[in-house]
Structure formats: C-alpha cells, structure tokens
C-alpha cells in the first residue's frame, strides 16, 4: 500500500475525532429524552474559546477545559429552559445554535489566523511500527487515542452498566423509571450537561488538534454540528453505529480534500457534498417505517421483497420513545 493511501486513511481516523465526541455526546443527551439542537453553535464557540484560551495561557489543557465548561454551560441552559421552565427544546436549542455561531465570529475576530499552540503527534512505540495498522491508527496525537477508548467506554457504559441502563430507561419509559426510584429530571439534567460538555470538547479538538487555528467563517466548521446531529440519528442512538457514521463522514471530507487537489471543483461545493448524503441517509433509516413502503413491498414478488425488507429493517433506527417529551412526576 502506497504512502498517499495510508496518509488518507490516517486523515480519516483523525478527522472523525471531533465529530465522534460531538455525536456521541448528543447520543447521551438524547438517550435521556432531551434533544439538544445547539451542537453547531457549541462547536464553533468552543473551537474559538479553546483556541484563544490555549493561546493566551499557553496551556492546551486549559483550552480543552474551557471548551468542556462552555459546553456544560450551554447544556445547563438547555436543561433548565426545557425541564424546569418547560420551553420548547427545539426553540431553545436552535436559538443557542445561532447565538453560539455569532458569538464566536464576533469575539473571535481579533484572533483570526493567529498562529497558536497545538497538540503534537506521539507515535505509540511498538504499535506504530506494525505495517498498515501502525501508520493509520497509532501515529496520532493523544486526542485520537482518547477517541478509541471513548467509543468503547461509551458503548459499555450505555448498554452494559447499571447507570447506563437507568439512562436508557429514563429516555424510553420515564414513568416506569420513576416508579423504580430514578430521579428522571435530575438524570436528564445530568446527561444534558454531560453530553453538551462532550460536544464542547469537539471545538478545541478542531482548533487545537485536527484543523489547527481559528479564522471565523473561513474555518469551515459551520455545519459540522448539524451533521453530528444527523449522525446521531443515523447511528440509531448506539455509540458503535454512531462512530461508524462519524468515520463515514470523515471519509467524505477526506475525499473532498483529495478531489480538490486533483480536479477544478470549487472548494465550497466539496464542503457541501456531505449534506445531500446526510438527507439520503436520513431517508434510508426512516423510510422503512412508512406505510406506503409496506404497501409497495407487498405488491412485489417474493424474492426481491424479502431482500429489500431485510435491508430496510437493518437500516431502520428508532429514537428513544420519550425523546422530546417533558416528564412530570405528578
């Protein structure tokens, strides 16, 4: 395998990291029954804030901490407004998405295109020497290694531990969880704040590790947050499948970079290429539930019908049953 292919594959593994943290973070929030639409604004705001904090304090750690804290604050606003004040989750999240973007562009302007500090690559001794696997997976910064552990840890926590099952219960059948002693709204607060803090890490992951620097609108980060939300749906609220979605998106981005250097296609078109695909994947995972599809399928001959319905069933995902529905313990 030649070195260009290896670089491209390593690039995919690296580019997927911020999206991974954002969409698995949102996965936690939505599992508890809350939709947090602010992701796009949070990523932009924390990319700017993380970059500026790291630059002025000369500490990468403080840059990431700032991102997580701002993310947590956004999550707290969403939780307070939707759980305590019972306002529409969509409205609050959407306003925060726009506000976060404008705040980052306004406050970040003096720092546009400034050279900053960034996370350096640390090849893992031994592992990085393995042919193919080494250069693709083990010649990265610590952020990438953290993502491997994070995917597996998130999966195990969500489906194999007691608090994880409690989380699922709160999102699926809050009344039943309440009867069994769960503090439904307390847990929803917790996972909205935690999930948004993870989204808040995605920003500095871009500006300090994957797509180093800050340049307001030109950073090309606007829109990634919306893709992350779509990946959560595509992933069927399962961290492993969500991770697959993030890698798929990163592969598309890498393909864009490769095409840009070899063809005349304007960069803006390549940047937008994932969005039609996002719509298509959302159609694929949802269409299996539509009535008319059943009707059409019934009219087909036996063989293709079996194959198509098998594919549709494999793709189909269902949201947590009480996603977006407020819970009142009265």
């Amino acid at each position: 395998m030649d070195s260009t292919t290896l670089t491209t594959l390593a690039g995919i593994v690296e580019y997927a990291v911020p999206v991974l943290f954002a969409s698995i973070g949102e996965n936690f929030t939505e599992k508890s029954g809350i939709t947090n639409l602010s992701v796009n604004g949070t990523i932009l705001l924390t990319a700017m804030a993380g970059f500026v904090v790291a630059l002025t304090t000369n500490s990468l750690f403080l840059g990431f901490l700032a991102g997580a804290l701002i993310g947590a604050l956004v999550g707290a606003i969403v939780a307070f407004s939707s759980i305590t004040l019972k306002q529409s989750q969509v409205a609050i999240g959407f306003v925060l998405a726009l506000l976060g973007r404008d705040l980052s562009y306004f406050l970040g302007a003096p720092f546009n295109n400034k050279p900053g500090i960034f996370v350096s690559k640390i090849p893992i001794p031994g592992l990085s020497d393995i042919p193919f696997v080494g250069p693709v997976f083990f010649n990265h910064s610590i952020v990438v290694y953290a993502s491997y552990i994070f995917i597996i840890a998130a999966y195990i926590f969500m489906f194999k531990t007691r608090p994880g099952l409690m989380l699922c219960g709160v999102g699926e059948r809050p009344a039943a969880a309440f009867v069994r002693g769960a503090n439904v709204n307390g847990l929803r607060y917790l996972y909205t704040i935690l999930g948004s803090a993870l989204v808040g890490l995605a920003g500095p992951m871009y500006s300090l590790a994957v797509k180093i620097g800050w340049s307001s609108q030109l950073s090309g980060l606007d829109g990634v947050g919306w893709i992350a939300l779509a990946i959560t749906i595509f992933g069927g609220w399962n961290p492993l499948r969500v991770a697959f979605g993030a890698y798929f998106f990163a592969a598309l981005q890498q393909l864009g970079i490769t095409l840009q250097s070899s063809t005349q296609i304007p960069i803006q078109i390549l940047q937008a290429a994932p969005f039609p695909l996002m719509i298509l994947t959302l159609l694929l995972v949802n269409v299996g539930r539509a009535e008319w599809v059943d009707r059409e399928l019934a009219a087909l001959p036996e063989k293709p019908r079996a194959i198509i319905s098998k594919i549709l069933r494999a793709l189909r995902t269902s949201p947590p049953a009480s996603l977006g529905i407020p819970f009142e313990n009265e």
């Binding site: 606003i77 779509a230 078109i269 008319w292």
Partner: protein, 357 residues
C-alpha cells in the same frame, strides 16, 4: 398575555398578574442588553458607545431609515411565511434555502427572457413569479420527505439549505459564470431596466413596500379570520386529534410548506430585483434564519411581527456603523440571540408564576 379567566379570581389579582407579566418581559430585554454589554466589554468596546453607533447607523439620517425599511421588507415577508408553518406546528428551518431557490429561479427567468420582445416590466413580473415558484418547489421537498420518508423537517430543511447554497455556487462558477472569469461575488448583474426603481432620494422601492404590506395583512387575515387558519392551528396543537376530527393533515402540512415557500420565493425575488441584482453565494442573506427568530419572539402572532421585524432590521443596518469601532457586524446576531433566548426563558418563568398563584 393569555391569562385564562378562572372562577374565583378577582380582577385585582388579574391586574397584579398583568404587572408581573410586563415586569418579566422587560427584565428579559434588560438581561439581553446586559449580556450583550458583557460581550462588548470582553471585546474591549464601550457598550454605550456601541449602542449609540447602532442607533446612528439605523436612524441617523432619513436615507438610513429607508435603508432599514428596505431590509424590513424581505425580513417581514420571510417571517410572515414562517407563521404558516409554525401555526401548523412545523419547524421550517429550510427557509434560508427556499429564499435561495427563489433567487435562483428569478435570475434563471431573467436569463431566459433577457432578449425577448416583452416589456421590461412584464419580464420583471414574470421573473418574480418564477422566484415564487422556485420557493414553493424547494419548500415542498422537506414536506414530502417528512410525510413520505419520515425525515424530521428540521434535518431535511437544514440539509436542503446547504444543498441550495451549493446549487447557487455551482451556477455562479459553472453555467452562469460571468463572461471572462467566474467570481464568488456572483453572476452578471441584471439589466438596469429590469430592476425595481427606488423612490427618488431613498433606498427603498415602493413596489416591494406595498407587496410586503399586502402579504402581512394577507397572513393575518388567513390565520386569524378563516377556517383554513383555524384548521391549521388545530393541526399545530395536536395533529393526530385534528386528523381524527376529519382534517386532512397531510394536505394541510403540504399547504403550509407551499405557502411558506411562496413567501420565501418572493423574498428571494425581491432581494434579486431590488438589492443584489445578481445571484450571489449567500443569496438568502440570513433572512430565513432571522425570520425564524422574529417568529419565535412574537410567539407566532402575526400582529406583532411587523414591529419586531422592523426592530431587527434596524439592528442589522445600524450594526454596520460598528465597523468604525473596529468591531464586526455579528453583534446584531448576538443581541438578537440573547433577546430570543431570554424572552423564551422569561415566558417559562411567567407560566410557572401563573401556575403557582
């Protein structure tokens, strides 16, 4: 201000609640100003000076006021269109892309009809109608995807926003590129004879102003005074119940999307014929997103939308003056965002207080 009359409640208490109500609303506005001022302080700028500059930028001279009005026109039309979808309980976040498609169809019509023998006025009217059609078609897509594909209209619309922008950029750099070299500043300008003329000595076209006022009244009447509006509202409150009661919800969802798209298309056409004169990459110019904020702020009441839209337009225009302080024009977005956020939160606080009484 909906305080349902309840048995055993004296008018005196009702009056007190009204005052509390007002107080909560005003404190929401003050909170928004406070937080925006904090942001300005962080950016090392004098908040009061910034606000003064915004006021000067928006109302400093008579001609500036007409510029604000010229920005009010597309904003209030976009907001009015969104009231249809909001009333039906739909989140048409794809508004921005629908405006873009309105602009694309308008420019497309001008290109087709450029060298015909039709009178210039006729060509402009046809181009605006084409824009309206473009908006409708692009708005039906998220509706169809929601109904037949089960795709939430928020994600469908968002994705389509980016797709619309891509189509615009492709046209600008490809088939519709300027003679000579393609430029991200847009396609070739339309002939001056096709442009909507400004009132002498102002920045506003009388035609667009009249169209905007007619459309605002049209929406208010449709939503408040017709069976159609009532049915749409019933669907917005509970679409399953409305369906059981015999309202064809699918058709009404599509109608709401189509009407909203019609307004979006007209917005795009007006932007092309009275402001941009060409297809630019950012053809929606943010009016779709801003319209969503205005609609949320007025709590989906058509009566208030012209006033809030005017305020938002003034912020947007006045904002430009901030460049002399070395600040960029994203401040209006910050203030608008805080305003909607705190008004939504204040509404929640108010409901809690009313419940406790």
């Amino acid at each position: 201000m909906s305080l349902e009359p309840q048995a055993g409640r004296t008018p005196a208490i009702l009056k007190k609640s009204t005052w509390i109500d007002l107080g909560i609303r005003i404190s929401a506005i003050l909170m928004a100003l406070l937080f925006t001022s904090l942001v300005l302080v962080v950016a090392k700028a004098q908040p009061l000076e910034a606000y003064k500059n915004i006021l000067i930028g928006a109302f400093g001279t008579p001609i500036k006021i007409t510029t604000v009005l010229a920005s009010w026109v597309p904003l209030v039309i976009a907001t009015s269109g969104l009231l249809f979808t909001f009333t039906a309980g739909l989140w048409n976040i794809g508004m921005e892309g629908q405006i873009t498609f309105g602009a694309i169809f308008t420019i497309g019509a001008f290109r087709l009809l450029d060298h015909t023998s039709l009178a210039p006025n006729m060509v402009t009217i046809l181009a605006i109608l084409a824009g309206a059609l473009g908006g409708i078609l692009w708005a039906l897509l998220p509706g169809l995807m929601k109904i037949f594909g089960g795709v939430n209209e928020i994600f469908g619309g968002l994705g389509l926003n980016f797709v619309a922008k891509t189509v615009a950029i492709w046209l600008i750099f490809g088939p519709w590129k300027r003679p000579g070299v393609a430029s991200s500043s847009g396609t070739e300008w339309i002939d001056p004879k096709f442009r909507l003329p400004f009132i002498e000595g102002t920045n506003i076209s009388l035609t667009t102003l009249i169209v905007a006022i007619i459309l605002v009244i049209f929406v208010a009447v449709m939503l408040k005074g017709t069976h159609f509006g009532l049915k749409l509202k019933a669907i917005g409150k509970n679409d399953k119940a409305a369906y059981i009661l015999g309202i064809p919800t699918t058709r009404y969802f599509l109608l709401a999307f189509g009407l909203c798209g019609l307004f979006a298309g007209i917005t795009g056409a007006i932007l092309v014929t009275s402001k941009q004169y060409s297809l630019i990459p950012d053809a929606g110019a943010g009016y779709g997103f801003l319209g969503l904020l205005v609609a949320m702020l007025v709590n989906y009441h058509p009566i208030w939308s012209p006033f809030i839209a005017f305020f938002f337009a003034a912020l947007g225009i006045g904002n430009v003056e901030l460049q002399y302080m070395g600040l960029n024009t994203y401040l209006s977005g910050v203030l608008q965002g805080f305003l909607v956020l705190f008004v939504l939160m204040a509404d929640g606080v108010r409901k809690r207080l009313v419940k406790k009484h």
